[in-house]
Symmetry: C2
Subunit: 197 residues, 2 copies
DNA sequence: GTCTATACAAAGATAGAC
DNA sequence: GTCTATCTTTGTATAGAC
């Protein structure tokens, strides 16, 4: 056997790669079909529309990002390093996949002013995951009241790292600088908590 | 007289507004023409291509952003506040113009994988301006050796603020959080400089 | 400089056979 | 489930007149 991936998987691969490399709106359906070596009818039979395909590809990518991130958290020895593991995960995630210009989720969000319900929810799921997990991890380090605030700041810094990649900064350079800033933010928050009476 | 703006200006206005509100690639030329109340031939006579029009619109917008930022720097009383004035300028800039989904320059960069030479240069000019001016201002506060590093970190945080807007955070909320993080980064850099022997 | 009308290419999506 | 062939709409850009 050792058959090659199904047409459905090839479509998801092609859509994800092209969306990551050059964006959705500049990628015609034809380009996805050619890369996946699949006919138009097959795409529409499986996914209904181009946006449907993109949505499914993003869902799969988000699940993989989630897995990578969780692995990095488990590997981190201390609560503080678990909180900062999001930067390790970012670097690992990006080195593992097809090179992308920056963040695929933010990229699709930026070029889709009126997404359908499913796509909109998938895009929001990325932000939700970031905020939710960082808040959980933050709660092990600072006062519960302050955890949401710290989480939002870390998402801001993480998002800044992604933006710097779009501006042309090397991934590892941007990640290192983001991690540094995040470390300071973290210590400031933890310090103010523990020093308060 | 009090004649209305020329067709060229109306085209620039329309292109800038639509690029800011919904992005370039989803905005057909027809939509720009309709908003500007101008015929196709006029657009191509002035700007050659759609990308030429977008490029000129971005150049004008960058010049206005530059002016706003400089005003905020002049108004700031201390060197530290001058360095943080980029956040004041961001808020002021965005409230003064047509509502945009996030940063027009990063938005166009994100959806244009292969820009022409002029557009590419215009997009890069935004990042150059940020780095260059922040480095100048940083040099008044920290060791000259450290100024570029501090400037890069501030650009990262500033870019993070923009990204948070794309994620759905309110502009003023994101700006305030960015400013807070930037203030800490700044104090850490200034502190390490002055405390070193 | 600006208009009307239109050329030409490319897009997303579907029909019908196998 | 997958293919070939095609339909329809929309996109950018131009021709030629005023």
């Amino acid at each position: 056997m050792t058959s090659q991936p199904t047409a459905r998987d090839r479509l998801l691969d092609a859509a994800e790669d092209l969306a990551a490399m050059q964006g959705v709106s500049v990628t015609p359906v034809d380009a996805i079909l050619e890369r996946a070596r699949v006919s138009p009818a097959t795409l529409y039979a499986h996914f209904g529309t181009k946006e449907g395909l993109i949505t499914q590809a993003l869902r799969r990518r988000l699940a993989r990002w989630d897995t990578t991130w969780q692995e990095c958290i488990e590997e981190a020895p201390t609560p503080e390093e678990k909180l900062l593991a999001v930067f390790t995960a970012l670097s690992r995630h990006r080195h593992a996949l097809t090179p992308s210009r920056w963040c695929v989720f933010l990229g699709v969000a930026a070029e889709t002013p009126h997404p359908g319900r499913d796509l909109e929810d998938t895009l929001a799921a990325d932000t939700r995951l970031l905020l939710h997990r960082l808040e959980e991890l933050a709660a092990t380090l600072v006062d519960t009241q302050q955890a949401p605030l710290l989480a939002r700041r870390l998402v801001l810094i993480y998002t800044g790292v992604l933006g710097m990649i779009l501006r042309g900064t090397d991934v590892d350079t941007a990640t290192a600088e983001g991690r540094h800033i995040a470390g300071m933010t973290l210590h400031a928050a933890a310090g103010s908590t523990s020093s308060a009476p």
